[in-house]
Symmetry: C2
Subunit: 205 residues, 2 copies
DNA sequence: TGGTCGGGGTTGACAGTGTCTACATTTGAG
DNA sequence: CTCAAATGTAGACACTGTCAACCCCGACCA
């Protein structure tokens, strides 16, 4: 066997950190706090991660897997639709994940907290982007801006959803655009990008 | 006179903080470090700001003013163009500011660092968004998605540029989309939103 | 002129952090 | 059984933000 992975404590730390993020947000997160909640002494985490940044990078990598899953879940819910509709569904999956797990989502893009040298972090992040590129390529084959560079196209679409999620979590959209539902903005973004494609969002909460 | 404002020290602190952000980024910023660079004792800043968050909020508010100016500068450079072109120019101004002042830009959207209760912070942020809404309204009068809610439309456009800037600063776009110029992505985003409108970006560096 | 009063600067404390080192304990292999 | 590696603990160190006490100087007023 190559790596059946650690049995317990390392995973316990990641899980504990994640629970902290889900309940408290990422404001007061820290090595000692995680150790405390895991019932360990303050130096214990350093036996499994060389630094706090690596621990958080592991949490973020798991977050990228969940993000991928969230998009895939939305894709399954509209499996039969056209490629453009699938792209829009993945967009919903993206911002839904951010809205439901603001702590981990925020962590995933905080390079001052996550050690970006962590190989898992880079791998999972790339896989998530690859999922998007595949959808873009399929949409292009269907006539959606077929002459554009797929990676560039995916980058812009990613940025739109990422910006909506980030600004929403920052609280910047609510006071400026009035009390507007995030789903409304995502729907509008899809409409701008795809012309029509009225993707309902009331299913699969 | 109502408020000819403080003569020196308070402004010195803001300026020093800003210089730190411009040179070192926002990683090691702190109350004591700012005081050190300003040639003051570690407790001095608290005579002018009740907390670090308020000091940074003041810096961020100034950043919003500069962001507004950066967009206005790009607008002046293409003053004669159609409303859609002006909207695209403002978009360039946004990401240019982020690319040229990554420290302050990053700070402006970090609610864990900035005290968002600061009135200046909210005011300047709102003014910057108002600038965008005005441009959107003008574009709508010109036939650009005239039936959409202006605030929602502005929110989505803002999010796109904000996402591009954020992901770029995070270093997420470079490894995934290859070595692609940020301006290329902004141009593409404009093309997706407006159809054509080839805004040159080589002027006004 | 003399007194006082407060804004602004300094210094030292306190609780908290991440990380390092020394030590103790457990555990598995030879 | 022995020994060594892995794992957990406890204490230290340098650092942080914030608070309280002190101090000084300039403005104001009797």
């Amino acid at each position: 066997m190559i790596a059946t992975a650690a049995p317990s404590t390392r995973d316990l730390l990641v899980t504990t950190a994640r629970e902290y993020l889900d309940t408290e947000g990422l404001d007061g997160i820290g090595l000692r706090e995680i150790a405390r909640r895991a019932g360990l002494s303050h130096g214990a985490p350093l036996r499994h991660f060389p630094t706090l940044g690596r621990l958080l990078a592991a949490v973020a990598a798991e977050g990228f897997r969940d993000l991928y899953a969230s998009a895939a879940e939305q894709l399954d819910a509209v499996a039969a639709t056209d490629p453009r509709g699938r792209l829009g569904a993945a967009a919903f999956g993206y911002v839904r994940f951010a809205a439901q797990s603001p702590g981990v989502f925020g962590l995933m893009f905080r390079s001052d907290l996550c050690d970006t040298d962590d190989p898992d972090y880079a791998t999972e992040g790339g896989a998530s982007f690859g999922q998007l590129v595949d959808l873009v390529v399929a949409a292009q084959a269907d006539g959606f801006h077929p002459d554009e560079n797929p990676a560039e196209l995916a980058g812009v679409l990613w940025a739109t959803m990422h910006g909506l999620a980030s600004l929403h979590l920052h609280g910047a959209l609510a006071p400026t655009t009035g009390q507007i539902d995030l789903d409304t903005l995502v729907t509008l973004a899809n409409r701008l990008a795809f012309g029509v494609s009225p993707i309902s969002s009331e299913d699969t909460p």
